[in-house]
Every structure is written in C-alpha cells, then in structure tokens.
C-alpha cells in the first residue's frame, strides 16, 4: 500500500513538472511577438518634418537603397541617453547608415538633446504625435529598426542598443543582408 500512496503523490508532481517544463521551454524559445506584424514588409511612405533648427527631415526615400538602422529616440527617455554613446560609436566606426526618429518630444527638445550629446544620425525626422510611430508599431523608446536595401523592415530591437546586441544580433544580420545572394 505504501507504493500506492507514493504514486498518488508522484504522478501529479511529475505531470505538473512535465506541463510546466514544456510551457516554459516554449515561452523561453519564442521572442516577444508584439509589434512583429510589420516585419519583412516595406517601410510605409512617410516624410517627417525636420527637428527645429535642422534643414532637412527624414523621408522614406532617404533610407531606401541601402541597409540602414532607424533609431527611435526621445529627449525625455533615460535609456536613450544611456545608449547614445553606443550610437555615436556605431556612426563613427561601423559605417552603418543611422537615421533618427524623434518620437513624442517637445518642440526643440530633440535638437537640444543632439546638440548636447552629439548627433549620430545622417538625418533625423520629428514624430511629435507618434503618427509614424503607430505605422511602425513603436511601443516605446528606444527602439531600433533594421531596414534592408529594398526598404523592408527586417528586425526591430526594443530597448537600449548595447555592444552585446550589436555584436550578437545586429551585426550578423547586417552582414547577411549585405551579402550578395
């Protein structure tokens, strides 16, 4: 009878661990799927006004034709400030075209932010109302989009662009995209 009692305890525990293990491994294997509906689809047509004090803004044509990064930032975002040195390094050393989208910022704040901390962007557009952000499924700042030469969004990184993200995710992706197929 002792064996039976042990089994009645053992079986539910084993079943629980099995179900939990399967679900956990599935959840750990999947990426965050929010905002992936736009992946592999062309950039929307857009033409964003310049930051106050700039001559030119940012339009879809500026970006088309090359593998490029679009970084969504705001002056009120502390994480953007923390990733800014990394963006400066990318622009100076890695030779990746980097474009900026100033998302939901006060008028003039975007330009002041870039004047103070450096401007890594080839061109920057203003998206004060978050209209383009809604087209791109931006859920917060910072976010960085990788666009291929045909102007399709190939990857979206949510959060700070760190050296690790660059080395392990973005650089390999860019290398693959640039490789002539």
């Amino acid at each position: 009878m002792a064996g039976g009692i042990r089994k009645s305890v053992l079986i539910p525990v084993v079943v629980f661990l099995l179900i939990g293990g399967v679900l956990f491994s599935v959840a750990a294997g999947t990426r965050d799927v929010s905002g992936e509906g736009y992946l592999d689809r062309p950039l929307p047509e857009f033409s964003q006004p310049p930051l106050i004090g700039d001559e030119r803004g940012l339009s879809a044509e500026d970006i088309r034709g090359e593998v490029a990064l679009i970084n969504v930032f705001a002056s009120w975002c502390a994480v953007c400030l923390s990733e800014h040195p990394m963006l400066m390094r990318l622009a100076a050393e890695e030779g990746v075209p980097l474009y900026g989208l100033n998302w939901k910022d006060r008028p003039g704040a975007g330009r002041r932010f870039l004047d103070r901390h450096g401007d890594p962007y080839l061109a920057t557009g203003e998206d004060a109302a978050g209209r383009l952000g809604a087209q791109l499924a931006v859920t917060g700042v910072p976010e960085t989009y990788l666009v291929d030469a045909e102007g399709r969004i190939r990857y979206r990184h949510v959060g700070a662009l760190t050296e690790q993200v660059w080395q392990e995710v973005l650089r390999p992706l860019i290398r693959d995209l640039k490789r002539p197929s």
């Binding site: 079986i11 079943v15 799927v33 929010s34 905002g35 992936e36 509906g37 736009y38 689809r41 939901k104 109302a129 978050g130 952000g133 809604a134 087209q135 791109l136 499924a137 859920t139 917060g140």
Partner: protein, 166 residues
Amino acid sequence: MTGLRQLARALAVACLCALAPVFALAVQPDEMLADPALEQRARALSLEMRCPVCRNQSIDDSNAELARDLRVLIRERLVAGDSDAEVIDYLVDRYGAYILLRPQMGADTLLLWLAPALMLGAAFAGFSILWRRKGPPPPEPEALSEDEKAVLAQALGQGPGQGSGP
C-alpha cells in the same frame, strides 16, 4: 419624516459612490466621435485590442498614452470609411496578431484553442485509469464452517449446550 428623507439621501449617495468606477473611463471626451454609431463601433473595436504597453488591458481600458494613440487611430480609420474588419487588419498588419486580445483561430493558434479540451480529456483519462486501478471488489467472505457456527451460536447464547438465556 426627516429621518426617512435622510435615509433616502444617504442611500442615493452610497449608490453613486458604488457606481463611480463604472464611469471612470480611459476614453477621454475629446477622443469621442460625434456620430454615436461610429463611436459605438470604435468602443467595441477598442475592447478587442491589446494595449502594447499594459499587455493585459484593452486599449479601451488603458490610460497609457500609446493606447490613446491607437484609440484615435481606430476612430480615424472608421471616419475614413473602413469596415470593422479593415480596421482590425490594419492594426494586425502593423502590430501583429498579438494586438488582438482574443486570438484568432488559425494553424498557429490551434493548440491554444484546443488546450482546455485536451487538458480536460487528459484529466478524465487519468481519473478513469486511477479508478480502474483500484482492482476488483474484495472476494465474498467464505461461509462459516459447522464448527464456527457452533462457536458463534454458543457465544450468542443459543447453543445447544445451554438451556436458556439469563
């Protein structure tokens, strides 16, 4: 008389307080459409959409700024003449199927939809196996032998050896 009136007033205040949360909407008056039919459709659609910031809230519930942007976007699409299905497609195109609070039935979500039935089935199967495991009922006790019957009868005071009870 004044006591009754006071009681009624207290009750009315209590009811209003209890109902207050019902009126505390995330949807702001300046977002609402003038056309009540369109506004009604916008509200119904908003209830079905997940707020990308607050994850388990609909954009109709959420106070997040992003949810407000999406509510405004839905209303703009409706004013532009989109059908409900077109609005949903528009959002799913951009934010992915994740934006839907109620996942659509499809090849990739089939397991999700069938999971409750599968688990219930597994539970039934498990229980039926456990019940069957209990095995056959215990065997009928054997009838008493003649000797045992005699002992029993004696113990009960009806044995042949004794005349009568106490």
